[in-house]
């Protein structure tokens, strides 16, 4: 069974290291905050100047002065702090974040990331903090559905959509697999149970290799 969106987020959360400073992009990556491992202290950064993003507030606790990059109300964890925008992007661009988990339209076999515009003429483009994050964090990982709704592969030889940054993605979490971007190409570390490797390759434009110790990709029902 392919993972559901929340399960992709759960899987990505399992790899977060104790003590890591992490930025979660809007969309699918934002769900990761629901699954932070309880035994680790992980500090979530939000581009609009929040270090220490906490869980969503209860209905009576919403404070519209405290929001995340997706403009939704959040809370601050004990120990959290605020910075202004220029310092927030200094944190992003200056290599102070250990990791950014980002969404994508497409990822290439070289780790190129396309996640800011599809060039739809009816749709004004918006870049937000995507380009700053993509070149600034120490490591970039992407959470993405393996194919579009129409079944077109999102993991490609080259991105068809305009790039956000070239050769930055190190790991890709999809509903079907966990894939590392390596100097030797794309290596599948984990694959869902009821799909064999050739079937995964058929849903992927770029050439995949199977890790010698490839594991099953499983997530609890979350």
């Amino acid at each position: 069974m392919p993972l559901k969106r929340r399960q992709i987020a759960w899987r990505a959360a399992q790899d977060l290291a104790d003590g890591a400073y992490v930025n979660l992009g809007i969309g699918l990556p934002t769900l990761v905050s629901d699954f932070l491992p309880a035994d680790r202290e992980i500090v979530l950064h939000s581009e609009n100047g929040v270090l220490g993003v906490g869980p969503a507030p209860g209905d009576n606790e919403v404070d519209w002065d405290l929001i995340n990059a997706g403009k939704q109300p959040i809370t601050l964890v004990t120990g959290g702090s605020y910075v202004h925008h220029t310092d927030s992007f200094l944190i992003i661009r200056g290599g102070h974040l250990d990791l950014a988990l980002l969404g994508a339209f497409e990822v290439s076999e070289k780790g190129d990331l396309a996640n800011w515009t599809t060039d739809d003429p009816g749709f004004p483009p918006g870049v937000g903090g995507a380009m700053d994050l993509a070149v600034g964090a120490k490591e970039i990982r992407v959470l993405v559905e393996h194919t579009t709704r129409a079944g077109a592969p999102r993991i490609r030889r080259q991105c068809g959509y305009p790039l956000t940054a070239a050769a930055v993605v190190r790991r890709i979490y999809t509903d079907l697999a966990v894939i590392d971007v390596t100097a030797a190409g794309l290596v599948v570390r984990e694959l869902v149970d009821d799909l064999d490797f050739p079937a995964l390759q058929a849903k992927t434009e770029a050439t995949l290799r199977q890790a010698p110790d490839m594991k099953a990709l499983r997530a609890p029902p979350v």
């Binding site: 100047g49 404070d63 925008h85 483009p125």
Partner: protein
């Protein structure tokens, strides 16, 4: 005596010239100078260039200023968000120019202007369409593009507390672009939720010192 307080929104925005570059603070719904934006409609300035992270939502604040036809150009990182109906209509019908700039580059360009610098080299956008036409330079093995300072004629700000010297505090993520924009404009105008006496704000809590602020007006809420 220093007294930067003004009694009305009309007084706060008086004298903004046609064609001004107006830095407009806020991110999402937080830290937006909505009352000042709406006062500019009344004030009458036209052909404005707005610098803002988002292009306004609903029909209030910046969106109202756009709807009034006063803005010819917007420099923005993320113009489209849920409710950005006014901007989308203007954009679709070619009635507003959009310059798209990555979010951290907008704020760093303004900081650069505030600091009296001539520009900076940034790795952001290298290898993408947004680097087209920019000077490229390799420094210590990494490629950068030259980004130029972005100075405002006017900054419209929203703060929590302010005193007659212009010292400002903010609440939580409503701080966002406000401190940088306050420093980067020739005329910085703040709406504050509460005016307090000089000395009431603990000096350790002042985020924008009064040297960067020219006028402030109380707008509760």
């Amino acid at each position: 005596m220093i007294d930067k307080r003004v009694r009305s929104l009309a007084e706060a925005v008086a004298g903004i010239p046609d064609g001004a570059v107006v830095l407009c603070a806020g991110f999402g719904g937080a830290g937006l100078p909505n009352a000042l934006c709406e006062a500019v409609i009344e004030q009458g300035a036209r052909n404005l260039t707005i610098v803002a992270n988002n292009a306004g939502t609903g029909r209030t604040g910046l969106a109202a200023l756009l709807a009034a036809g006063r803005v010819k150009r917007i420099i923005c990182s993320f113009p489209r968000s849920s409710g950005s109906v006014v901007f989308e209509e203007l954009y679709a019908t070619g009635r507003i120019e959009l310059e798209l700039v990555p979010q951290g580059i907008i704020s760093e360009r303004m900081r650069c202007a505030a600091a009296g610098l001539g520009g900076f080299y940034s790795p952001v956008s290298v290898g993408t369409r947004l680097a087209d036409g920019k000077e490229h330079r390799e420094i210590d093995g990494r490629m950068y593009v030259l980004e130029k300072p972005l100075k405002g004629d006017v900054a419209l700000l929203a703060a929590d507390r302010g005193d007659r010297w212009g010292n400002l505090t903010y609440r939580k993520s409503a701080r966002n672009f406000n401190p940088t924009m306050a420093m980067a404009a020739s005329l910085s105008i703040a709406q504050v939720r509460r005016l307090v006496e000089v000395g009431e704000i603990d000096p350790e809590m002042v985020i924008t010192p009064g040297i960067f602020v020219d006028r402030l007006v109380e707008v509760p809420g």
